[in-house]
């Protein structure tokens, strides 16, 4: 079995071979292949810039792997401010002894995910650390892109805006929880991990006004809505029964006492658009997922809280998730 050795990070011949056979081979583009100390980029207008590190366990899960996640995550962060993802850097921290074919699988899935947005990896770095100093492989990606639709912001929500969700929530978080050995669960559920730029591009083309967008990653729907309330000094009313949730996600939550609103997503976005644009926005979103739905509205209020309405008239605050996800005991 071929594995990654410490020498692969040593800066010598082995490292050069790893880079050319694997990274250059799959990520190849003109800028990367120049192999300069830094990539030189041609960009015009306002630029969005973001960075994220990925340390998921397990590395391979239903619907994706750490590679797909590392591309989609950074590309989505750019897309969420209306920027077209263009150039990414990519740094690997690899544990000594990591299987080469697994690394290749990860790299291939990064390549496939890059094609969804047309972004390119133009620079990178590889470090190999002694066994035990990392868990398999960690990846950092940093990206830039040109802003195509300005002023999308956490502070731009206005009273009367509709809150939309692009698909059913909580799939990624559920998949990761189910992959944990101790729960011993099985299901057909796959992570929502996906690149959102194609949806955003269509939304921009459709002429819909976009006030705020965010991919609901860690902290899930609850975290995004609470951040928006604080950021725009508004209240958000949410109708619980409108929130799309897949059966298996619901099942997992019922079994372990989780809230689907707290579970992570990796390809699900929340949008705030003016009420008049709801039909047009939903038309676009539903080209990508039939489950896209309006789940709430923005209200002017002194309290900047998310209020969840249940179908029989009960109300509660939807709070930020707290603490680690432990199952209920009784």
């Amino acid at each position: 079995m071929r594995t990654v050795q410490l020498s692969h990070g040593g800066g010598g011949q082995e490292m050069n071979k790893l880079i050319s056979d694997l990274f250059f081979h799959h990520f190849q583009n003109e800028i990367l292949l120049k192999a300069e100390d830094a990539a030189v980029l041609q960009l015009e207008g306002p630029i969005a810039f973001t960075s994220d590190s990925f340390t998921v366990s397990p590395l391979f899960f239903a619907g994706g792997d750490i590679g797909k996640l590392a591309i989609a995550g950074t590309v989505n962060d750019l897309a969420m401010v209306g920027a077209q993802p263009q150039y990414l850097s990519c740094s690997f921290i690899i544990e000594e002894g990591f299987e080469y074919h697994k690394l290749e699988t990860i790299v291939k899935s990064m390549k496939a995910e890059l094609e969804k947005s047309g972004a390119q990896i133009v620079c990178g770095d590889t470090k190999v650390v002694p066994r035990g100093a990392a868990d398999g492989v960690f990846i950092n990606t940093t990206g830039v892109g040109t802003v195509k639709y300005p002023n999308i912001s956490v502070s731009q929500l206005q009273a009367g805006d509709a809150i939309l969700v692009s698909r059913d929530i909580g799939c990624h978080g559920s998949c990761i929880l189910m992959a944990r050995d101790e729960l011993r669960l099985e299901s057909e559920l796959v992570s929502d991990c996906a690149t959102l730029w194609p949806v955003v591009e269509r939304l921009i083309e459709s002429g819909v006004s976009l006030h705020a967008m965010r991919d609901a990653t860690r902290g899930g729907l609850s975290a995004v809505l609470n951040e928006w309330c604080e950021g725009s000094k508004i209240q958000i009313d949410v109708e619980e029964e409108k929130i799309p949730i897949a059966d298996a996600v619901q099942g997992l939550c019922e079994l372990y006492g989780f809230e689907p609103y707290d579970l992570a997503n990796e390809g699900t976005m929340i949008l705030a658009v003016p009420a008049k644009d709801v039909p047009a926005a939903l038309d676009v979103l539903r080209l990508f997922s039939p489950n896209a739905e309006q789940i709430g509205t923005v209200v002017e209020a002194q309290q900047h809280k998310v209020i969840m309405h249940n179908p029989w008239g009960g109300r509660r605050y939807l709070e930020l998730p707290q603490g680690e996800l432990l199952p209920r005991i009784c």
């Binding site: 209020i307 209920r328 005991i329």
Partner: protein, 399 residues
């Protein structure tokens, strides 16, 4: 043939919830005094707060949260035992979920783990057996907690350990019983409970007959209820009907699971391996005689309190003065009346046990009831129609 969705969504039907709310409003108008319902089980507290059931009820129906969350009622000295065991180099301490976050007098099991104690939270008690088999040179202690519902699982674990000759598995037993706790609340009288919602899962094991003495002794209705919102609303309606008729009887709303005699196979396993412990100190309720279980004579060799006696402290430890878990567990205070609620004590940094478990009253209030307090919803609703209409208007939130 019934579908799974009927078994869950059928008991969460919004129209039915509103219809039940309306009926409760109509009937309770005939009551001369208010009904104080204690839901004994933490699962019901969770349902009531999560689904906002108190917002659907008239002013003269009040919930008093009972001592039915196994994590909440655990006194600090028992948690100290767990920590003392886990700090022994030869011991692996295995316990269920939330338990690792409850503070004893020397911190929590989670903190003990960070200091090097081998603490392993599991989801399934039988995992303890696997851990014992995989670590033959270590001593695995199962820190067993829970009411009548969870005791049979400990019994199965013990049975399998005996059958398979897994000699390195020990038990620290903290299994407690519902009827003595309910009796203690009533005998004390301070909580002024006038009706009970009986636990769901406990009753699935024990059967509903165990509550008959409470009904007879205190002339108090007991309705054994399921956990879905419709189950709880229907149970409240059944209590109000009894109150209007001036009667007190034992009824079962949760007929799809609970029978009079319960799960006798489970009861037999428990009876063959456990006996009553003369005394157990409950957080809040204090010492209640014959309210908990201990391994019977023939399993003394697996009783961690005997085997590790030298390592275990033996002193009752009171709660922090500012923490009012004790009053909350006795039904004398509501979580939001506690001085540290939401300030010194939150789910991330709990001071008292009731904030730890998601079925603890404080945790349920913290997660779900903030809005109801801000609007004082629990007090203002007077008729079903009014409260439902009010729920549809958002003006008062902005006001």
């Amino acid at each position: 043939m019934i579908e799974l969705k009927d078994l869950s969504q059928g008991f969460r039907n919004p129209e039915l919830m509103q219809s039940l709310s309306q009926r409760i409003h109509q009937l309770s108008a005939q009551l001369s005094e208010s009904v104080k319902i204690m839901e004994v089980c933490g699962g019901h507290t969770h349902t009531i707060m999560k689904y906002g059931l108190n917002q659907l009820l008239p002013r003269n129906i009040e919930f008093i949260h009972g001592p039915g969350c196994p994590v909440c009622i655990m006194p600090k000295e028992r948690i100290d035992h767990a920590i003392e065991l886990a700090m022994l180099p030869e011991v692996i301490l295995v316990t269920l979920g939330d338990m690792i976050r409850v503070p004893g007098s020397k911190g929590t099991l989670a903190q003990c783990r960070a200091k090097g104690g081998d603490v392993r939270p599991v989801y399934d008690p039988l995992d303890a057996l696997e851990i014992a088999k995989q670590n033959p040179d270590r001593k695995v202690v199962f820190f067993a907690i829970g009411f009548e519902t969870t005791t049979p699982m400990t019994a199965v674990l013990l049975e399998l350990a005996e059958k398979q000759n897994v000699a390195n598995l020990y038990f620290h037993i903290n299994h407690v019983l519902v009827p003595p706790a309910v009796d203690a609340v009533m005998a004390d009288g301070a909580a002024k409970v006038t009706a009970f919602i009986g636990p769901s899962h406990v009753s699935a094991i024990t059967g509903s007959d165990i509550y008959q003495p409470i009904v007879d002794c205190y002339h108090t209705p007991v309705v054994v209820s399921g956990f879905e919102p419709v189950d709880v609303m229907q149970s409240i309606l059944m209590i109000v009907e009894q109150k209007v008729q001036g009667i007190a009887k034992l009824e079962v709303q949760y007929t799809r699971v609970v029978t009079a005699k319960g799960n006798q196979a489970a009861q037999q396993k428990v009876a063959s391996m456990f006996t009553l412990r003369p005394h157990f100190r409950w957080r809040g309720l204090g010492d209640i005689p014959l309210s908990s279980l201990v391994l019977s004579e023939q399993y003394r060799h697996r009783d961690a309190e005997i085997v590790f006696a030298d390592a275990l402290s033996d002193q009752a430890i009171e709660d922090h003065k500012a923490c009012q878990c004790a009053d909350i567990l006795r039904g004398l205070a509501k979580p939001n009346q506690c001085r540290v609620f939401g300030r010194g004590c939150t789910p991330t940094k709990p001071m008292g046990s009731c904030m730890v478990s998601s079925e603890g009253a404080c945790n349920a209030y913290y997660r779900y009831a903030g809005l109801a307090f801000d609007l004082d919803l629990t007090k203002e609703a007077t008729t079903g129609k009014a409260s439902i209409n009010r729920a549809k208007t958002e003006k008062e939130i902005t006001a």
